[in-house]
Symmetry: C2
Subunit: 730 residues, 2 copies
């Protein structure tokens, strides 16, 4: 490969990351989509992006925010009645069972508009958005407790809990931070706001959190910056926030006993603010559920070790990583031994007495993740643009690797669970100055894949991120995920309930009531039923569409031209679009997802008549086709059937039942051939009446179904040939 | 690599596609983003996606549709006053000079809402959207003439040109198709609708087009399906469109002499309809600029050979590809020899007399592209799920390759220009059933990269497309693209003019006029000026932000929490966000693009006071810092300076000027150190007055600039070490 100027090490990296056609990536990563407001799903080690999931931003490909079902989810995120059509997603979290990823749910926060979203990993769709009623900003979400009882969300820039204006001069007295514990109900797959609560915190800028596990289960840890409580004002000649917020040598790690906090709420010790239970600081102090420990300058990550015994904090303006001992912390709390109190009366523990060790790693340490090997951790060094591998038991540095450039978070496989999987590490770099082909002033981000399976780390791959700046990513073993490929026919995928618009084949209809036109329609290769929809100017048009396909990946789309509606209708799903027919005219509609050879012909017309339009008596269209046309088409069909029979002959001659994808294809082809029979019956009916026009057209329809069946059959044949199918019975 | 189960062929493919860190992809591909409404930019051969460009759909990461400048572009796409917030993009086209890609502009169409967009490849931003005033639907855009004089856009589903309701029974008489020639003005980089025109066509479903080149320059070719003019109505018992639109054995290839058509318009022979010049069919026939040729059943692609002599058409319900001879066509036209006329009086040429050859390729041929080697073409076979390599001069099949599954378009490098570049082919597959880790019922698409440099085609790579279904893609040699990395300070990137909101450092200000609050602000690592913005409920707030950075990739973002505004402000750009301060309260704002170690501290507050709020006299905040704090910070700074000096010492000791990226970094670091000097001066000023509070904070600010300079210096040092810098002068 000298032609391409590759080194031996490049070739090794290529071999370690290449996933051949049909192969599967070992891990599936879920990255926040940053300012895109979405979630990015990619495979490791190939670093190929599999999907952008619409979460906080409308996304037409998925119909997200365009169909009525998903609009209901998106609009749960309105704030004080205002529509928010984007989000600044930061930290995704996978649901856990006993401290390990279970592959069921994903949570993601919105920093710009304090919200959390729930994504169901059965179908990779967003099912719920909750708005934090207290905060104006939150960066430190989402983090889950070991059994996903709660999803943790911390505020960032302090603001009054009230929705009132309070001058900045009252910052210390009336601005507040906080940590919210959102109760997650695994059965319904939803957050229950009524069972959720917040612990009031001082107006420090709370940042990331982590939940304790095993020995430290029941506690959570949240760090902070700007405990100086500095208020900027560069426009008035004051130093900016960046100076005033980085003046002190330490900030505070917050420790909260969330299990006890939940009990306090049950005991009625919380105060309702904006509809949420809040444990006020004085209560939290009095009940002994809230403590502070100094932590080095402007920290970012706080990360509990897999055994739950140690807590790693990196202060980005300090060159050390600090490892706190949960035991040492507990011993001080038990002994009531506190160094001081903060201005709000919260007990402050001794940093020195809480530390297990401190390790000098380099400039700008940010975030730590763990290896499958005991005592091994990896920390990102922002200013040094390096990943440091180090031993947190013994407090020594083991290896360093240069990355390009300015790494933020890093992530190891399942690296924040009780059982990290090792093998790979991803560096989430903030700059991509000279890494890729140029695409203008706005650059992609750069995630670098690093092999950590050996003593020395090895850089494997540079992955551009084409849309949004992911702040954090989590990765799960791909085999733990068990998403579906179709819905039960007639499902509203956002509620997982049967849709009121669900329609079976043959039961399509249009219901008119006053100014309302409600269409119960279906989609199947390759037509939409009905093909003509009539309305009058001013009508409210509602179109329900059920995808009657059962075949994998046989998604249909739908739009009505110039009406700003779009739907993605996956197999079995029922989707509803709604709009006002506000202009008279002729508006084509069509399937927007390429589904079959006759996809372009999957069309119809919405006809919007002016008010009070009088029907003009129309002349029956002249017949175009004759018996000769009919005979010709029938002959074609008979010939086509011979081809199909030969393919079927091949398939049934081998052990096709040993190949589940082929069994699914055979099912699908059988469906198509059954439909062919129906068309043939209609053809025969017309031919009997010598209606050669319709007989010819139904013969054509019969042929269309044959073509689809042949297409599927050929796919099955190719699959069998490529996967070494053997003669049946051998 | 047996551990990963790779074959020798896999390893070869890995080596052929792997691009090591810092390497560049040889080709840059621009794919339509399908229903996402965007453009997808990816590299070949690595198949890594570099960017999604916002075109028809708002996209917050880029601020597209969120800032005022881009909203103006997006809103050019309103139809009859209605906001359209998505598009169904289909066929991208790169601008050409003398029939070859010049890397300057990109055009893309919207099928669902008949529109065209212009993207400037200097910054990869959408600059213009035009709405077709005649069509309701268009699939066959964009295609350019050899010098990009015109961008060709054909209608798809016929509809009346008038915006009136016309019953389907009047389909033949009043529904129409058409081809629009949008005049492109390269100097302004915009389409000029006033100089554009349309040729009226029968109500066939016009599909794709291609412009003639060299001998056939001046002509364009547009094919069609459903020349049956069938109107469906499955809900009334009629056969569906798919049957009626595929009944005939041939459809029509339309040939239009666009050069002569442009002259006819100048001669006043066009009719103004909805503000556009339209050459009516009877004029087109009379003037001899419009002809039809039969083409096999339901074609998709029409593709002129690199030498302009032949035109390839694939009818997807025919197993042949048909190659027409431009010479033979011209001979017939010259001789006035026509086979018949269509129902609208358009002369129909003999198919037989026009054909150069027909080749039996397989089931479902769709689209053809050309190789750098003479006479070699590649055609996608939808039903067979294959790519066929064939010789169009001699009319013989050379090779076939299975793909997965159901290929739509295919694309070779610059394969529709006069000088195709060969080497790679991309298969745009419509299904990705069993190719990737599962991500729910909605699957990614699958682009497969194929090596065509040797006799036998070789499959190299499967690329999932994570967002939208690309219909077509074009690829250009990466080195032909010359995008910028920054704007001239104060540029409105959507107009490429100086912004009225442009603001220099030190000239930031807030201008209040009645209910309007206009902020002229700046962003630079790591603060926003101003840091406090005050308004009253009901005020219209306008915030202009200029990014003062010159460094590559130093983009800042901006949002005001819960106000649904977002901006991406690349180096030099000025961006404006606007909103009504409709609720009282405290609203943090911050930089949304991770830019520096103190990025999280790049924050401020919008304070919205209730109407008639009376200022409360505030107490001056107590000083927190003492002379001891000041001295300590100064000592830190002096120590830090020593580190910086050592890095600078290293850089200047080697031949850093030979490395342009390092020269840019040194410029940036020098900027930061100059700012450090300014902060230091402010510090000394405060210290002189024994104002230890502000002296300490400005000392901190000095240090912040040092940290940024150190960060940049370390990046430069690493780069030099990794790129073999040598002692200066050696």
């Amino acid at each position: 490969m000298k032609a391409r100027g590759l080194t031996q090490q490049n070739l090794l990296a290529a071999a370690k990351t290449y996933v051949p056609t049909g192969g599967r990536d070992e891990f599936t990563a879920f990255a926040s989509g940053g300012q895109s407001g979405q979630i990015i799903v990619y495979g490791i080690p190939s670093m190929r992006i599999m999907k952008y999931i619409g979460v906080f931003t409308p996304e037409p490909w998925q119909g997200y925010g365009f169909d009525e079902e998903s609009k209901k989810v998106l609009r749960q995120g309105n704030i004080d009645g205002k529509e928010i059509n984007w989000g600044d997603t930061h930290h995704p979290a996978l649901s856990e069972t006993n401290g390990d990823y279970d592959g069921q749910f994903l949570f993601i926060n919105d920093k710009a508009n304090p919200r959390l979203a729930v994504i169901d990993l059965r179908d990779f769709e967003t099912k719920q958005i909750v708005v934090n009623p207290l905060y104006k900003s939150e960066h430190g979400g989402a983090f889950v407790t070991p059994n996903t009882d709660y999803v943790i969300e911390a505020s960032q820039y302090p603001a009054p809990y009230s929705k009132k204006f309070v001058p900045l001069e009252r910052f210390n007295e009336e601005y507040r931070g906080g940590v919210t514990y959102w109760k997650f109900d695994r059965k319904s797959g939803k957050i229950d706001p009524k069972q959720s609560f917040t612990v009031e915190l001082p107006p420090y800028s709370q940042d990331l959190s982590d939940a304790g596990k095993l020995v430290s289960d029941g506690w959570s840890f949240t760090n902070s910056f700007c405990t100086e409580r500095y208020v900027g004002g560069i426009e008035k000649g004051r130093p900016p926030y960046e100076a005033g917020c980085s003046a002190k040598d330490t900030d505070y790690l917050h420790m909260i006993n969330w299990k006890k906090a939940a009990e306090l709420v049950k005991q009625g010790k919380a105060k309702k603010i904006n509809g949420m239970d809040v444990i006020m600081m004085d209560t939290a102090v009095k009940e002994g559920i809230l403590f502070l420990i100094p932590e080095p300058k402007s920290p970012h990550g706080v990360d509990v070790t897999p055994d739950g015994k140690l807590i790693t904090v990196a202060g980005k303006l300090d060159s050390h990583v600090s490892v706190y001992s949960f035991d040492k912390i507990m011993a001080q709390i038990k002994a009531g031994k506190f160094e001081s109190k903060d201005p709000y009366g919260i007990p402050v523990l001794s940093m020195k007495d809480s530390l297990h060790t401190q390790v000098a790693l380099g400039l700008g340490p940010l975030h730590t993740q763990y290896d499958s090997k005991p005592c091994i951790a990896y920390t990102s060094l922002y200013v040094d643009s390096q990943v440091a591998k180090w031993n947190y038991c013994e407090g020594k540095v083991l290896d360093k690797l240069n990355i390009h450039y300015n790494i933020g978070h890093l992530m190891t496989m399942e690296g924040d669970t009780e059982h990290p999987k090792g093998h790979y590490l991803v560096a989430l770099n903030k700059l991509a100055i000279d890494r890729f082909i140029p695409v203008g002033p706005l650059h992609p981000q750069n995630h670098q894949l690093i092999d950590i399976s050996e003593d020395k780390m090895q850089l494997l791959y540079d992955m551009p991120l084409p849309l949004g700046e992911p702040h954090y990513v989590v990765a799960i073993k791909s085999t733990t995920l068990k998403p579906g490929i179709r819905y039960k026919v007639g499902t509203d995928s956002r509620t997982d309930e049967p849709s009121k618009g669900a329609t079976r084949a043959g039961e399509e209809r249009v219901v008119r009531k006053g100014k309302s036109v409600e269409v119960f329609g279906t989609e199947i290769r390759s037509h939409i039923t009905p093909e003509t929809i009539e309305a009058e100017v001013g009508d409210e048009v509602t179109i329900h569409l059920t995808n009657l396909e059962r075949a994998e990946d046989e998604t249909h789309g739908f739009t009505v031209d110039t009406y700003n509606v779009h739907a993605s209708v996956e197999p079995g799903k029922t989707v509803t679009v709604k709009f006002k027919a506000d202009r008279e005219g002729v508006f084509p509609f069509y399937c927007t997802e390429f589904c079959s050879a006759l996809h372009l012909e999957m069309e119809g017309y919405l006809l919007v008549k002016p008010k009070g339009y009088k029907e003009v008596k129309t002349v029956e269209a002249k017949a175009v086709y004759t018996k000769a046309d009919y005979d010709k088409q029938v002959k074609t069909n008979v010939d086509t059937q011979a081809v199909i029979d030969s393919v079927v002959g091949y398939i049934t001659s081998v052990n096709y039942k040993d190949f589940p994808p082929v069994v699914a294809l055979v099912d699908d082809a059988t469906d198509q051939l059954n439909r062919a029979k129906e068309a043939k019956a209609k053809m025969e009916d017309a031919a009997k009446k010598s209606d050669w026009q319709n007989a010819t057209l139904w013969a054509g329809q019969w042929w269309q179904y044959q073509v689809k069946a042949a297409d599927i059959g050929l796919r099955a044949k190719t699959y069998l040939e490529e996967h070494g199918a053997k003669k049946a019975g051998k």
